[in-house]
Symmetry: C2
Subunit: 338 residues, 2 copies
């Protein structure tokens, strides 16, 4: 199915030197896709080679004169940079010229701009950020990851619906299981908000598993883990920190002396297999859910391979009617409550 | 310095088969320590061998007829089991016959019993659970880990004081740095409670670093990480889940085929060194802080080595005047505010 993606080429730590090659790799692999590269043409063109000729109408550049800095306050980026690559990319989704936007830029600014330009879907109070994490059984989707620090039970319920629809769209799993992140399995655990959210989820018609704990994220107990943005962000960053420490210690041990260095060579195949399974680049691309359009946020430090994964996620969500699925579900909910 | 420790021998997944050998190993290594083994003599004695004769007055058994089950509701354990090994061990601390109690039993029951028997220190509203985690620079102490799901800014400040005094006592670091777990470094990040807690901590006279994020736990950015019990519990459990997944994947990769199995043999020294550095058993033993006595909680699944670490932590805290340090600090605070 044809899909057109708008790429914010200027965002992220590396800008066009990563985003453009990733977009071209994606175009080579997905022959039904089209890409609009958004940003300063003079920054984009040096990375294109003969791509414009090769891909013909499947690839074009959309000029945007400004760039949102990685540490720029979202409110300022919104007000002062109406011609930023980020804003122009999201505008393309709004205008129907693209079915999804992908950016490795400033998360807060991307959320603020997407919310302002695209608006939220009917029945959704707040958009949420949903990431994919590796698990023992495959992958776990978790939201919110930091967009909302204070959440009501109703917000958590909406996150559950949005997460379930995302998994239905991108994993073709029509009844994904949903767990509520808590500090114990029993219904009586947790604070008041989480307890009430549990009641709403139980009555929601979703495939609600019940409470899950932090370790269930990686056990793969459920497809979707729901939490407020504060807790989700801490869980995600804690995982990043632990993974970095583990990788550092492993590297240190294998470079301790000549013998361990030789052992590392000998163990290369196993170590590479291990690295592949926990490679966070494979899971790059968080969905901004609850908007009237698909927006995917790549990690700012993504390399070409990682950024391409974020583009794949965006294409998958757009092709599998993510927005329609969420809005249909919200309408059903409204009808059943009316 | 002489110290007497009361060991709840019946708690944990393994009971006396783990707790008794760990206590004996500890007695062999620490010649100034005394141990009171609390529980059913008929369950303890088979694991003693000739220890009673060997250690003489350094070792004795204190009979307790009941056992708190791992899944028993804390309120029931409190009300109905006044002669549980857990309660009797904490009573020994209360009566001054021991300077610390160690238990691998039910966390909720241990907290409820300790709070009821020992009471909180003046100025402390709620006790907290403080764990030690490995970091790139050594170790990080984190609290609360689950005792308090809803915390006020004042509670978080008290956790900061208690955590700092613990590090002062057990690591001989008189000005430990304290960080507030948040979802960004800037002071304006986070919810209202965390922002206000930041203000209190800045004015507290503690060596306050400011906000830290989840990855800072493992980077070792600060000595003490302060958070509410919900967030702390999720961060801890998430880490446990990720560590288990990493260990499983590593094992799987090295047992993939004959070649990788040989590689594992060849890489044994490096893999063992790695395992040692991230071995959670070395960090076993969470302190219940804010009480009028030292109580240390071991992981329920602890083995002999891990349980012995928890005993060492308890001895270290008792010998280095943990309780006096916290109460002196709280009195100073009261005076300066008066």
């Amino acid at each position: 199915m044809t899909v057109t993606l708008a790429i914010d080429c200027m965002g992220g730590d590396h800008g066009p030197s990563v985003t453009v090659p990733a977009a071209l790799d994606f175009l080579r692999a997905d022959r039904d896709a089209r890409i609009v590269l958004v940003g300063r043409p003079e920054a984009i063109e040096p990375h294109l080679g003969t791509a414009l000729a090769t891909f013909g109408e499947r690839l074009r550049i959309q000029r945007a004169s400004e760039v949102v800095a990685m540490d720029e306050p979202p409110a300022l980026a919104m007000r002062n940079k109406k011609d930023s690559s980020m804003r122009v990319a999201v505008n393309l989704v709004k205008e129907g010229e693209a079915q999804a936007a992908v950016s490795a830029g400033n998360t807060g600014a991307l959320m603020a701009i997407s919310r302002f330009v695209l608006k939220t879907l009917p029945g959704i109070d707040r958009p949420a950020i949903c990431s994919t994490l590796p698990s023992m059984r495959g992958q776990t989707h978790m939201l919110d990851l930091g967009a909302n620090v204070d959440c009501s039970p109703e917000h958590l319920l909406q996150f559950g619906i949005m997460g379930a629809m995302l998994v239905a769209a991108v994993e073709h799993n029509e009844r994904p299981s949903v767990g509520l992140l808590n500090i114990g399995e029993e219904d009586i655990k947790g604070n008041e908000i989480v307890k009430q959210a549990g009641e709403l989820l139980r009555k929601s018609g979703l495939n609600f598993y019940g409470n899950v704990e932090g370790d269930d994220i990686y056990k793969g107990t459920v497809d979707v883990v729901v939490c407020d943005g504060f807790v989700g962000n801490v869980a995600l960053k804690t995982s990043e920190g632990l993974a970095q420490m583990v990788a550092t210690f492993l590297r240190e041990q294998f470079s301790r002396n000549l013998f361990t260095k030789l052992a590392a060579l000998f163990a290369m195949s196993a170590l590479k297999g291990f690295k592949r399974r926990v490679d966070s680049r494979r899971y790059n691309g968080a969905a901004l859910l609850g908007l009237r359009g698909v927006v995917v946020k790549s990690h700012g430090s993504a390399d070409v391979f990682a950024f391409e994964q974020a583009i794949w996620r965006a294409a998958e969500a757009a092709r599998n009617r993510l927005i329609d699925r969420i809005s249909e579900r919200m309408m059903e909910r409204e009808r059943s409550e009316a």
